[in-house]
Structure formats: C-alpha cells, structure tokens
C-alpha cells in the first residue's frame, strides 16, 4: 500500500489527481472554442473570462470552507449582498475612504459568519437551518436599509480597479489569486488549517485528539463569512455600483464548484486547486455558449449536459485510477 503512489507512471499519477479530469475537460474546451472562433483567444475575450472568474471563485471558496467541516453555509449570498450594500453605503453616504470601507465590509462578513458559527455550535441546531434563517435575516437588513435602491456614487479609483487591466489580466484577478494561494497554504501548512480538515474528516477523532472542535467549526463559518464579504466587495468593484441584488444567485454555484471539484458533502475533503478548475470550466462553458451563439432556448440544456459530461469524465478517471 505504502509504495502505491511511488511506483506509478506520470500518467497514472496525473490520473490519480482529483483535478485531472477537470484539467482535461478545460483543455478540450479551450481547444474546441479556439478552433470554433478566432475571437476566443483574443486579449479582450481572455480578459472577459478571467474577470468573470474572480467573484465566482471566492464564493466557491466561501462554501468550500464550510463543506470542509461538514457544514453548509446557505447565507453566502445573503451575507454577500449585505456586505455589498454596506460597503457601498459607507462610501457613498458616509464618505469613508476606500480602505476603511473595505475593512469594515470584511469585518461585517466575518461577524456574520461568526454569528452563523456560534449559533450552530451553541444551540446544536443543524447549520443548514441556522444559515437558512440568518440568510433571510441578512437579506432583510439589506432590503430594509436600501429599499432595493443601489448605491451608485462610488469612488472613481475603486470603480477603476474593477475595470482596469494589464493586457489580458484584470486587476480584479489579483485578490482571488492571492486568496487562493493563501487558502491553499492555510489548509496545507498551518495548524488551524489542518485542524479544520481534521474536524471535517473525523469529528470524534479530532476531538479526542485535543482539537477544539466547536472552535474550529466557528472558525470555518467565520472564514466563510469573510470570503463571502471579499467576493461581495469584488462584485461591487466589478459592477461599479453596490446593488442589493448582489449574491442572490450565488448559492447553487457556490456548491457546484467545490463539489464538481470533488469535495465531499460530508466534510474533510476539499481541494483549492480542483475547486478553482471547476470554476474555470464553468466560466469557459458559459463564455463558449455566448461565443457559439447558442439559441437561448438551448443554453440551459447545454449547461446541464456539459456539467454532466465533465462529471462523467471525472468518474471515468476515478475508475481508471482505481480510486473509485
């Protein structure tokens, strides 16, 4: 057993990676689209794709962290919306400097996550129900404050960051990349990160090993809230206005990306790289459908079919690699 991973060829080792099928699917998609349309690989289109990748990725990470400890956060979108309008409001109504507004926004997100975590741990009620209820509360605060009217007058520099680019690279890509690296490092190499995965992998064992389980669950929720806030702030920059509707359609995607990336709903098993690749794949599919001028009535159908195909490919890989 122990030498299993040693004696494999490069191909086998590649196949054994959770993300290999996704990588293959992405390459196939890229090649096909590049062949189909010369516009696909233009600088601007690459910029467009990278830009739409940013928010979704952080949202996926936000959900991934709660999945890691076997919990769910149904309030990612609601919390994101709340942070978005809070940041917008602080900048427009109160004239806060951008860094102050951003830090306050992150603090609100973390606080929301902390509330989720504490309620889950202290009451012992299923996190699913807690976050469903808090999601409604967050949305309520959002709508109560804004009465659904966006904040428009944001500082020019902040908005410019959302649209600026260096050749094909949007400035907007910087935060998600930094977050991905930090998160991968956090989960792989730091004590709290490992504790988080340990609690997800076997909560009883973690507790017997002296890991403060409740505190780790609260930490996961808090980080999830923090990331939701980061995604929301990025979305505000990207859209150039603080819309109360930011976050309404995050939920499904937040689950889809980590799970297509191989995360288990039962906890303990997540991958930053695979989640990121899943987001890339989804973005390519969506971009490709616009590019290929797909009849609107077929968009939904093809989206489903392509997700299914990606999943099937991964399944095939797992069977081949013997890891089924």
């Amino acid at each position: 057993m122990s030498t299993l991973t040693r004696n494999m060829s490069f191909g086998q080792r590649f196949l054994a990676n959770e993300w290999s099928a996704l990588a293959v699917a992405i390459v196939i998609g890229l090649v096909a689209l590049a062949a189909l349309s010369p516009a696909f690989l233009t600088e601007f289109n690459l910029y467009v794709m990278l830009r739409s990748f940013c928010v979704v990725l952080i949202v996926a990470f936000a959900q991934m962290l709660t999945l890691a400890v076997g919990q769910m956060n149904l309030s990612v979108g609601a919390l994101g919306g709340l942070v978005a309008i809070a940041v917008g409001g602080m900048m427009e109504k109160w004239g806060f400097p951008v860094p102050v507004a951003i830090l306050s926004g992150l603090a609100i997100g973390a606080a929301g996550g902390l509330i989720n975590g504490l309620l889950t741990v202290r009451t012992g009620i299923n996190g699913f129900i807690i976050t469903l209820a808090t999601a409604s509360a967050f949305t309520g605060i959002n709508l109560g404050i804004t009465e659904s009217i966006p904040f428009y007058n944001l500082p020019a520099g902040f908005v410019a960051f959302g649209t600026g680019r260096f050749y094909a690279l949007p400035y907007l890509l910087l935060p998600p990349v930094l977050i991905a690296i930090a998160l991968a490092f956090f989960l792989a190499r730091t004590v709290p990160g490992r504790q988080l995965l340990a609690v997800g992998g076997n909560p009883q064992a973690a507790e017997l090993s002296g890991i403060p389980r409740d505190r780790v669950i609260v930490m996961a929720h808090t980080l999830s809230g923090l990331l939701a806030a980061a995604a929301a702030i990025l979305a505000v920059a990207q859209l150039g206005s603080a819309q109360p509707t930011i976050g309404v359609d995050w939920l499904l995607m937040s689950f889809a990306a980590p799970i297509i990336g191989g995360a288990a709903l039962t906890g303990g098993h997540i991958s930053v790289a695979a989640t990121a690749l899943a987001v890339v794949l989804i973005v390519i599919i969506q971009n490709g459908m616009v590019l290929a001028k797909v009849d609107p009535y077929w968009v939904q159908f093809l989206l489903g079919a392509l997700i299914l195909a990606a999943v099937g490919l991964n399944r095939l890989r797992a069977v081949r690699a013997g890891g089924a």
């Binding site: 349309s37 516009a39 696909f40 233009t42 601007f44 289109n45 690459l46 910029y47 467009v48 794709m49 830009r51 739409s52 928010v55 979704v56 949305t139 309520g140 709508l143 009465e147 659904s148 009217i149 966006p150 428009y152 649209t163 979305a235 990207q238 859209l239 150039g240 206005s241 819309q243 109360p244 509707t245 930011i246 309404v248 359609d249 973005v283 969506q286 971009n287 616009v290 590019l291 001028k293 009849d295 609107p296 009535y297 968009v299 939904q300």
Partner: protein, 348 residues
C-alpha cells in the same frame, strides 16, 4: 425572481406635479378606500410609487394609498401579500404582475369579492379581470427602442438583443418586437442573437462581456429590453471605450444617463413609474367607491397582452432631451390624469 427589468430612479419626480393636478381634481370627494400599490418585488423602479401614493392620498382625499413590497421577486409571495392585505381591509389594488399570467387567478378572486384591481407598469395577460392596464407597453417599448437603434445605425448593421428572464412571458414579447422592427428593414439589419437571462448583475456582466469579448468587431448595435443589462452594457461599453457600437437601453438608471451624456449610449426608453402609481391610485379610488365604472368602448390600445391598455408614456431619452425628459413625463402624467375620467370611465 421574475421581471426584474425596467426600473428607474425617478424618485425625484416632485410633488410639484402632483400638487398641481391634485388641487384641481382632489380634495372634493374624500373617500375611505384603502388602496395598496404592489410591485412584483423589491426593485428601484418602483420607488416613486411610494411618493405617488402619498401624493394621491393627499390630493384626492383617499383614506390610504400604501406602497407594499413583496419580500422577494416570487409570484407566490406577491399573491400571499395581496391575500393578507385583503384580510386587512384593503379595498383596491394596483399591481405590477409578478407574472403576467400567474396573477390572473388572484385578480379573479379579488373581483369576486368586489375588490377592483388594475395592472400598473406592466400588464396582465388577457383574459384577465384587471380593470385596465396602465403602463409601459412592453411590445411597443421594445419595438420603438429597436427602431431608435436602427435609426442611429443609419438603417443597417448587425444587432444583438439583451433580454431578461427567459421564462417570463414578456421576454418572448420583447423578442418578437425586436424581430418585427428588424424585419421591417428588409434585411438591412440582422439580429446576430438574443442573449437572455441577464437580469442578475453577475450573469449580465458575464454574458455581456463575453459577447463583447467575442464579437465586438462584428456587431454594430445592442438593444437591451431589461433594466440590468442596460446598466451593465452601458458600463461595459464605457470600459471598452467603444463609441462605435450603439446601445439603446431601457429605464433611466444614472449609469445609462451618464452613458448618453458621454456618448457611449445612443438612447434609452424612459418609463413613467410615478405617473403609473399616481394615476393608478386615483382611478382605483373612483372605481372602488362605486362612483365610476370602466367604459367598454373607450379608446383602449390593443397590445399582444391586453385589450385594455393605456400608455403611461414611453419616450426615448437621447442626448437631446436628457435634461428635460422628466418634465416631459410630468406633462404626460398630468395629461393622462386629467382626461382619464372622460376617456375611460363612466361615472355617476
């Protein structure tokens, strides 16, 4: 999550106009009607309704004209809100249909209880028991917008239609309207594609940018028939610095208006939410009091949706009238209100 389109922020539409006509028409017949103005869900477009309701209550001496917002854009939340307001003794309803077809059953129940309802801002699909529809003609607005776009293109080119939620029946109407306008050019203008489901911010941002990324050199014009894609497209064109591609949007969002000012947007179709709320409350009060009934042979406009349509005013905002369009809308509101009784109602 339906119909998240249109919308504007003409909150500023002042009480001035209201006061003007209010003195003339109101105050005379104090009524104890409680009227609710109900949008499809939280959306900035409807914000002027709150003021419109207050003004109407004051001007026409109505007991209450309240702006009641469903918690989310869901048809069942809207109908539940209507039902609970009935339990609370509301006597008339001005409703933006959360779904043009789905609302009808609820309206039928209202009328069965002698509670009149009118469709405001958007229409219900016939057959319906709505007393009338005062709003923007979805088909016509999209048609006029497309015509304006075609004109700005000099009568030829390739265009893309950005539309709202595909499962919304109005989206289909808008697609038809765009195609009709295009067909009238006899092939000089062609539609490259319809892009739908762009009513969420992020989806719109992604799809519209993907479109521009792939085909910005091939397309000449964009017609947007929903609120959010109008905003997003205006912003994207500005980012791109592209003044070649012409955009005609809908609603007077600040970003769109700025785009017009700076030449990135050719125009946008304005709507008249304040007028819809104000006139709607006025007429509903008359009907609910039993003073008036709707005339069958009035000069209704026939639209693909309903045969009892009254245009609340659609006009194209372009660089020429960007500063003055609000006054134009005020005039339209005054006009509709003052002539409504004679044109459309039979009163005791």
């Amino acid at each position: 999550m339906n119909l998240r389109h249109r919308g504007a922020r003409s909150r500023a539409l002042p009480m001035l106009a209201a006061a003007l006509f209010g003195l003339a028409a109101g105050a005379a017949h104090a009524s104890d009607n409680k009227i609710a103005l109900i949008p499809g869900g939280p959306h900035p477009y409807f914000a002027p309704w709150e003021q419109a309701g207050k003004d109407a209550a004051k001007d026409f001496g109505i007991a209450a004209v309240d702006f009641k917002v469903p918690a989310e854009w869901k048809l069942n939340l809207q109908t539940e809100l209507v039902e609970s307001l009935v339990s609370q003794g509301y006597t008339a309803f001005g409703i933006f249909p959360g779904d043009a077809v789905g609302i009808n059953q609820t309206v039928e129940e209202l009328t069965a209880n002698n509670i009149p309802a009118a469709a405001l801002a958007g229409c219900a699909q016939d057959p319906t028991k709505m007393s009338f529809c005062l709003g923007t003609d979805v088909f016509n607005s999209a048609y006029l917008g497309t015509q304006a776009l075609i004109k700005s293109l000099g009568g030829k080119g390739k265009i893309v239609h950005l539309a709202g939620l595909l499962v919304d029946p109005n989206t289909k109407l808008r697609m038809d309207a765009v195609e009709k306008a295009v067909k009238e050019t006899n092939g000089a203008v062609t539609i490259v594609q319809h892009i739908t489901d762009t009513d969420a911010q992020e989806a719109a941002d992604q799809k519209i940018n993907a479109l521009l990324g792939a085909q910005k050199d091939e397309i000449d014009g964009l017609i947007s028939t929903a609120y959010i894609p109008s905003v997003v497209a205006a912003k994207s064109l500005r980012n791109l610095g592209d003044k070649r591609i012409k955009l005609v949007g809908i609603d007077d969002d600040q970003i769109v208006l700025d785009g017009i000012k700076d030449g990135f947007v050719a125009g946008t179709m304005a709507q008249n939410p304040y007028g819809q709320g104000y006139v709607g409350a006025y007429v509903l009060d008359l009907i609910a009091s039993g003073t008036c009934t709707v005339k069958a042979d009035a000069p209704w406009i026939k639209t693909p949706q309903t045969e009892h349509f009254i245009d609340s005013g659609t006009l194209l905002i372009s660089n020429d009238n960007a500063a003055t369009y609000k006054d134009d809308l005020k005039k339209i509101t005054a006009e509709i209100q003052s002539t409504f009784k004679d044109k459309y109602l039979t009163c005791k």
